[in-house]
Symmetry: C2
Subunit: 343 residues, 2 copies
């Protein structure tokens, strides 16, 4: 009836008393066990056990000026692709003894600035940001508080920020070229909402650039912007099919849009990729599992999270680190087809 019924949380001094040592020794035993005599350490461990002692993080943080906490500011968790990256981040950090603090902003720059401040206020030792474009106050705060950070998912053209990410524009160009090489001329695109989302913008830009190089463009009725939802994809596809001539290749801004678009094609009796080549970005493994013929650009999002975590871990440990790394994306060609013969 002792350890199991402690009713008020023990503090360091309690452990010290029980182990008959000073608080300094307990503190050392807890953070650098090799700095105390094994016998003492054992006694302390015993006392900790007995009292169910758990360190008070705030006090520890105040005194040591470190929290072993990393903050991540992401657009939303409501998208498997970011959840994935976050998951990898979390796992890697956890293995290194860090805790992840997640905040999302739903693509609103003001909110992003607010939550970033909240994280800094929480004393994060490092910060993972998504994308390169941020509210000026974000960079100001980071600078003022000297918080190590890394931009992810994108590459910083200015070279001013550490980053680890993908070249979305190049990926989009590859996607479009692939379709051009198959002989498509009639393109259309269902993009995600571009406001506050540089990745969506990059994808559109890349496609436009590749087409322009062939004297083509996303003409009127050939481009729609929809939220990243199934119904967004359905609606987008429906609208695109109203234009004449019908596009032979439709590029979707992400996997959810593509699946929605695919559903709409099925509903209308259009064969994919027979009547229409449908392609997109992000995973689509699920859609591809059910419907062959979906060519996609795959982003290694888990690797991204792991790398970002490692970058910060290394930096915080004073070890060398890559200031900037580009992760390769993969064009996964799954039975794309040439445009159907003109009727």
């Amino acid at each position: 009836m002792k350890s199991s019924s402690q009713h008020k949380a023990a503090k360091l001094a309690d452990v010290a008393r029980l182990a008959r040592v000073s608080t300094a020794t307990v503190s050392r035993a807890l953070t650098r066990p090799d700095k105390v005599k094994p016998a003492t350490a054992a006694r302390i461990r015993q006392a900790v056990q007995e009292l169910g002692y758990v360190a008070h993080g705030a006090a520890r943080a105040l005194a040591s000026r470190r929290t072993r906490t990393i903050g991540a500011v992401i657009p939303t968790l409501d998208n498997a692709i970011f959840a994935n990256t976050t998951h990898a981040l979390q796992k890697t950090l956890d293995d290194a003894g860090y805790t992840l603090l997640v905040a999302s902003h739903e693509f609103d720059a003001e909110v992003e600035a607010r939550v970033t401040q909240a994280l800094i206020e929480r004393g994060v030792d490092g910060l993972v940001l998504l994308g390169t474009s941020h509210h000026p106050s974000v960079f100001r705060m980071i600078h003022t508080h000297q918080v190590p950070y890394v931009l992810t998912w994108a590459l910083d053209a200015s070279g001013r920020h550490p980053c680890i990410g993908f070249d979305s524009r190049a990926a989009a160009i590859r996607m479009a070229r692939h379709l051009l090489e198959l002989g498509h001329h009639e393109f259309a695109m269902v993009s995600g909402i571009m406001a506050g989302n540089e990745r969506a913008r990059d994808r559109v830009e890349g496609v436009r650039e590749a087409l322009a190089a062939h004297g083509l463009r996303l003409g009127p009725g050939r481009f729609v912007e929809k939220p990243y939802t199934l119904s967004g994809g359905r609606e987008g596809m429906r609208e695109l099919l109203e234009a004449a001539p019908r596009p032979t290749a439709v590029i979707c801004g992400n996997d959810v849009l593509a699946i929605g678009a695919l559903a709409e094609c099925h509903a209308l009796g259009l064969a994919v990729p027979g009547d229409l080549s449908l392609t997109g970005f992000d995973d689509m493994e699920i859609a591809a599992a059910i419907t062959p013929g979906l060519t996609t650009v795959h982003f290694p999002t888990a690797e991204l999270g792991a790398y970002a975590a490692q970058h910060l871990i290394a930096r915080l440990a004073g070890e060398p680190f890559e200031p900037c790394v580009e992760l390769p994306v993969e064009l996964v060609v799954r039975g794309s087809s040439a445009p159907p013969p003109k009727s």
Copy 2:
């Protein structure tokens, strides 16, 4: 060249000096603005602005003994369903001025205990746990540190813990009954890995119970346990199809398994739901969008997150709160079919 180039983070005392008041007043102005004269408050706001002051959370937490932080311990973020709940949690908490600390344990009870301790150490004001079965030390720590908590996703039969969740077993029973009513007799199931996952177990139990009530069971070769992945679903279905007679109704433990199973059926030329009725738990909106005829049990996961957050917010504010609430689940019948006539 003043506010924009501060190089070392300002502290409360700096603000106090600049505003010509004491630190006590600044502190008050920041936390209860109504307790200081408007003019003073204005001067302080001005100083804060000028110095780019951001409070030091650890110091604040140490002195006030609150962190305005809530911890959530979830199995994994690598599953849309939990990411969803987490997202809702986060949004609701953020609106109330709380920050979410997420930790996941990949279905390992030891890890769960470890990360829970980490969260308590971080000083979370409240804790969201998933499921009712936890390592004893989890409840011990919660008790010792008097951390308000709420169990989610499940209902606590013992009535000892505040909880807000679903009745997974009842949901599984409904699913099975639905198929029984359609006239199926040959059942099979692809479950998720049950170790460390009470939800997976509940679903299996529910199905077994409903079948037993009709004198049926998941006989040999009619039950497989696979990881929640597409290939898990494919393999599972492949194995189930080896048994003779072939099952006419296959229930999948979750949506990803169901989609994998569906892919396997497609690959083998089996029509769903013509040759085989395929059903499952969790969302499956995506699979259903592409393939009609998938009946599922839908769990309102976003509501769950929001409710859990509200529960803690109310408790921490000393307001009344529901100790326990069951959220209704929905059987979404999408073109289920009776078993094909025996050949």
